[in-house]
Symmetry: C2
Subunit: 479 residues, 2 copies
Amino acid sequence: MTTAPHELDAIVRRAADAAPLWRRSAATDRAAWLRAAADALDAHVDELVAIADEETRLGTPRLTGEVARTSGQLRLFATVVEEGSYLELTIDEADATASPPRPELRRMLTALGPVAVFSASNFPFAFSVAGGDTASALAAGNPVVVKAHSGHPRLSVRTAEIVSAALVAAGAPEGSLALVEGREAGNALVQHPLITAAGFTGSVAGGRALFDLASGRPDPIPFYGELGSINPVVVTSGAAAERGAALATGLVGSFTLGVGQFCTKPGVVFFPAGSGFDEAVAAAVPTASGGPLLTDRITDAFPEGLAHLEGDASVSVVATGTEVAGVRPVALRTDAVAVTERPETLFEECFGPVTLLVEYSSDEELHAALRAVPGSLTATLHSESGEEVAEVLELLQARAGRVLFAGWPTGVAVTWSQQHGGPWPATTSLHTSVGASAIRRFLRPLAFQDAPQELLPDALRDEALAVLPHRRNGVLVVP
Amino acid sequence: MTTAPHELDAIVRRAADAAPLWRRSAATDRAAWLRAAADALDAHVDELVAIADEETRLGTPRLTGEVARTSGQLRLFATVVEEGSYLELTIDEADATASPPRPELRRMLTALGPVAVFSASNFPFAFSVAGGDTASALAAGNPVVVKAHSGHPRLSVRTAEIVSAALVAAGAPEGSLALVEGREAGNALVQHPLITAAGFTGSVAGGRALFDLASGRPDPIPFYGELGSINPVVVTSGAAAERGAALATGLVGSFTLGVGQFCTKPGVVFFPAGSGFDEAVAAAVPTASGGPLLTDRITDAFPEGLAHLEGDASVSVVATGTEVAGVRPVALRTDAVAVTERPETLFEECFGPVTLLVEYSSDEELHAALRAVPGSLTATLHSESGEEVAEVLELLQARAGRVLFAGWPTGVAVTWSQQHGGPWPATTSLHTSVGASAIRRFLRPLAFQDAPQELLPDALRDEALAVLPHRRNGVLVVP
């Protein structure tokens, strides 16, 4: 199924027609629209999960939880819109005594216009039609045109039907959320003159191609892509000695969760030589099972990725788990010297239930190897109090957007403080695609100089400032 | 003078060595470094202004004022760093009762690493070596490598010497601020693997070329370019009737200020047919004088740009001012139908003392012409209370970052609320290059999950949160 060029153009034009209404919508209305979308998802959970399970084989419990996460995400953004800090309201009063005299300036963030969202295969709800990019773009006041993922086409169509009907029923304009299908339509979408920004979650190759199209436009637009991430983990000798078996069990649970198809999967784990951590992992892996992968492409790519890793002379198998649907979890091992020499081979992300243990024999070896780690969404440090970890921490935080000191990177809480983004190729941007501040990606600053009250947007008028957080003459005010 | 490739590499590496010290620097230290740079500029004002006047011919009064603006800008950023809101500190406490249980997350913005700054010809202080891009990048905690503008090479070298010496004397690391020269060095700079972002002020052609290099890197970096802007002005029939002569005088002062070489120069002015506003402008223009332009390139380009505009059959001369140094201010006129049909010709930015008056005969004509206006830094609406301006305002604010309702767009106050940026080609980004929030361009988010206090950056520790603005569990806290 592919959206024809004239259909795509009509869809984007309808979104552009809806854009001023979204931009000018009152916070209470916009929040109500987001909550209506959330309620509609919850009301159709059984129907949607059934379609999703047929198309993705992710299973009912996981998919049901993902719907709740997705509706919760929409509701968080409703709260963000109501709270109002996201507008970054900033007022400087006129100052006739300044040299030169200062005019009054009132600044806010405002919506961009129609946003393109490219959905992911691995979260058919949370990073798809009504997922985080859509929720944050709508919350910012922008209509959305989603490029459906080919991995769950029926679910995409049905989700778009349900959510757009709910938005319109709640009072949002027609054209608020629409769907296009097919690779060519996606390429045309990101280049459409009325599209103002794009969000993307997917592969490095696919994301880079779309980024290049967005950047190559006559009028370049921001492209917020989440591309690839190997999510390094460092286990210190203290941690290995103190809780090696528990860490091994946790690691196995994390790298096999969702059949290893999370962008935050711990893909490479540094452990100290002689610590026995590899043996602890070897003991834990057999308890894990494989399962069907999301798409034919991933099903084909997983053994290819494994063969690529195992083709390196330094790599050996630590242990394997139970094969299900032709997929068997596996922990591999190599050493720090090898990854430092061949990072392109050994630090390449491999979707599926595999992780690479990397033995280090000294701090110097570990530091050198960490310098070769590509940008990632997350980095994890398991250490004990009193260990000297300053240099390791410095290297990890330079390469990641979220640094963990307990637990595992899979599992991304949707909160005000979440950061889901990192240095290239984790993302193309200095922003997050999960959590409250994801909304910032789809806003631009707009200042009004010496404006009469009646010509100001509602949020910048004195009566709104009486209740909204803002900065006045440099001082933060929380009414 | 061109910086050789191996020199450039050494310069960037020194900046990279300084980067962790800048990133981790305490707010009090960083603010002191910025103030030391400001004090050094002020202390050397006579020497610097003398060199600048030789190279730019902008005159002592203007250049002296610009030094004050530039040092003031550094001091504003020192205040921003001390105030701490720019860190966007956000804490969500752990919640064991959530499903799934929520970890503790602490989020901040942190520095990127060495930033490239491409300086402009038309503000040899405020948008050059120690200008807004440099000040905001340093304030964010990044060392800076400036590509000097060829229009003021000696001033660039001397400013860099003075400011970097002041930074080091105040305790900042060596390598905090350095200079490279030559177009090839600029191209190499934006592509250097250790450069993490770039700021630029200049032409559309030059900015686009560098944007393409930044976006085309194996690891794309953000490129914050301010490229070109025609800054539309709309005069309504009410305003023309009520204060046409005063508006005409103000317009002439604004479009000839700095010999018409401001990026915020009002380049196109819509006025109602039969209002006599063109006659008022014709009466005011002769009081204005030309002057030497900044560079040979601009001196050559101004008559070419004029010839390009006057080559359109619809364009005629309204009035001219006094020729000085071969440059004569001129107001041209055309009509709304012509600009709607030929926006590429008639809405092209022309640096120098020229503005284009555009007569409109109906609201429909005006609206159609405004839809053809390219993205601009500013848009100005001169109207009277009670006039119906909703549609005009909607069209103007869609095309600009700052909308004025009194005065003229030249003159950009350096404040918390300033917005100096707009839709393409005004800027490449959704940010500002002037004012407190310019700092956001050179920061990225970083979150810490379940971190022990002693491994957190200082700003995220409990003792810092007791005094810094932050958000805790969704609630904004101003200690």
